[in-house]
Symmetry: C2
Subunit: 430 residues, 2 copies
Amino acid sequence: MNKIYNPEPASWSTILERPTKTIDDIEATVKEIFREVQKKGDTAVAKYTSLFDGVAVANIEVYKAEIEEAIATISPELKDAIQLAKSNIEKFHAAQKTNIVSVETVEGVNCWQEKRPIQKIGLYIPGGTAPLFSTVLMLAVPAKIAGCNEVVLCSPPDKNGKINPAILYAACLCGVTKILKVGGIQAIAGLTFGTEIIPKVYKIFGPGNQFVTVAKQLATQFGVAIDMPAGPSELLVVADDTAVPAFVASDLLSQAEHGTDSQVILVSTSKKLIDAVEKQIQLQLEILPRKNIAEKAIANSKLIFVENDTIALELINEYGPEHFIICSEFDDFYSNGVQNAGSVFIGNYTPESAGDYASGTNHTLPTNGYAKNYSGVNLDSFTKAMTFQKISKQGILNIGKAIEIMAEAEGLQAHKNAVTLRLKAIENEK
Amino acid sequence: MNKIYNPEPASWSTILERPTKTIDDIEATVKEIFREVQKKGDTAVAKYTSLFDGVAVANIEVYKAEIEEAIATISPELKDAIQLAKSNIEKFHAAQKTNIVSVETVEGVNCWQEKRPIQKIGLYIPGGTAPLFSTVLMLAVPAKIAGCNEVVLCSPPDKNGKINPAILYAACLCGVTKILKVGGIQAIAGLTFGTEIIPKVYKIFGPGNQFVTVAKQLATQFGVAIDMPAGPSELLVVADDTAVPAFVASDLLSQAEHGTDSQVILVSTSKKLIDAVEKQIQLQLEILPRKNIAEKAIANSKLIFVENDTIALELINEYGPEHFIICSEFDDFYSNGVQNAGSVFIGNYTPESAGDYASGTNHTLPTNGYAKNYSGVNLDSFTKAMTFQKISKQGILNIGKAIEIMAEAEGLQAHKNAVTLRLKAIENEK
């Protein structure tokens, strides 16, 4: 752990620097697989599933019988937990629905904005050691509320050609319309171009390793939208002497166990708190199953002491953390003043885990400083805002002249003419 | 003009295909200029302004005296027109403000979503023959309503080192905080990295030629967000015998005059209407100042006859037009059924020009089929949605068990531990 006292503002950007990834080597591989899937479809997909996942899957689509079989293996406790989480995520995202915004800007000029669902979406859920069924909830629940027609879930098969039962259960519970055993670059390529089995979609959501991340970036060059650019997960905690050191340590460690490149930062106006948290981290780290991972992330973590809360807030806004926990006497000061953060957790009894799983907020959040310019996934991520207008004769009489003058000043005579013809027609009716 | 009768659905994607651009040659140039601006800052910017715009600008920042001088040259009629447009854009975008969404998902678990402004944004306004002051209104007005702190406008200087007066007037009227005489790739690079004079921003908005488009794409690789991917402008009109052929022709031509690559499509259930519009286009084309441009776009245009409105709607949704005009007896059928369109114009007295300039809707819209997965620019484009949560002891008692079970099932023990510690602490208080 790196303890830093009163860093100069000029040094903040260096202290808060995120690791930069080199993606150049990966890019060539990703492009090659995209080309092949575009050309050869399912044959290419099967080839790379065999190569990367080490398994030949006869039929990549998961049917009802397989889902039912899988669900039977899940404990009632886990089912209940998933259902509670789903219910909360549903409540919070359903509340994000917006009404039609309708305005008569001048008499006879009616303008409105409506949000309509993105019709076809793809959800990518990684396989491997940690089966992220929670991410299924975070993506499929709002997709359903938004009204997306086709929700295609792709997840890599394990060595036995199976997808984790909890992923299947969550997908089934949340109304995913198609589940496919396909992962990695070939899954993203399939969703981008479509194959006989994999539907082409308009937007791809979900986390993944660096290959999936680069594949999603490449997909955008073929007209597909993605949820957001990805980077390692991060947590910044601001805490003072009202915080409980053991709680703060446990939150920092829950971030650290995600990966060796996880970003973990504590900012405090209390040196005493910093020392106490440091001790607690050492204690708690010892008993973690993912100690090896967490230890490396913690070694790169930063414990930063600053003189006062104003400086702390400035530093936090410069960083723009994905997750931001506030355990401070002045929690209102921070929650009102934070400009750049993905999700904010307030108080000693609000661990990041709550938002990761079950409180109702979404856990797909902007990392890598993208909290400055991107929203986390929310209901609107599954819709697009469209505008409509209907103008009456009186309406075009009211704004027609202004349009003619502006179009002419921009040198666009045909734009002007479209109005002039209509104004003349109205004139001739008189 | 290409008249197509009853095309088979299997042929739609070919008929509706947009031209693909090759950007490979441009990309090397853009990367080179980015590297140089990142390294040498304003010196590099000045070099490329001199090279591309053919002018040496001593001071690229526009100050008050120059703005006032420029404003004095604008006619009162144009000022009035701009003010009317601004007022309508303001009304429509202010109505898009959303309240805080706050939900207690279970007792003691309070979650809310708040939109906060993107603090620093850049607006790119092209120079050249058509001074797009209307785009200044479309971007700066919602930026102001959203509460963006820094709004930096870049526009290339003309041969005399000036920016068009109407652009300066609109910028001044809408609260742009800094105006810079810099255009092209060097402007986008400057906004991406920041120089001594050009501020680094978090998101870049605005149209541009293919160099600017590629530069904006490259900017996203350096953490900057952009409004949306760009492509040639497009209009699809659906019309039947209730439409006025001269009006429809004028709308198609107003699209065609944008550029030789503009996409112009008419879909109709009436052969009579198609023939009448074709004649009107020929008549009106003759007298246009930008006839050369419009003629080329019209030569590639498509007039498509289909048997009924259901087929028409399916075809339109497959295309996903940027602008969609409905002049049909069944306008409700189309406006309710359209899933993919940037902005929809309903009725004989609602020309696309109205939305381009003065009705109040935004004219920065998704082209190239992006209406399937992107919103046009709206108030939310200038904000990011952040979530907050505050959980009481009772709250964590209510959801803690579910979090523990889910975290354990995902193999994330430290996530579980952050909850377990808190539950134990509450237990011990009893």
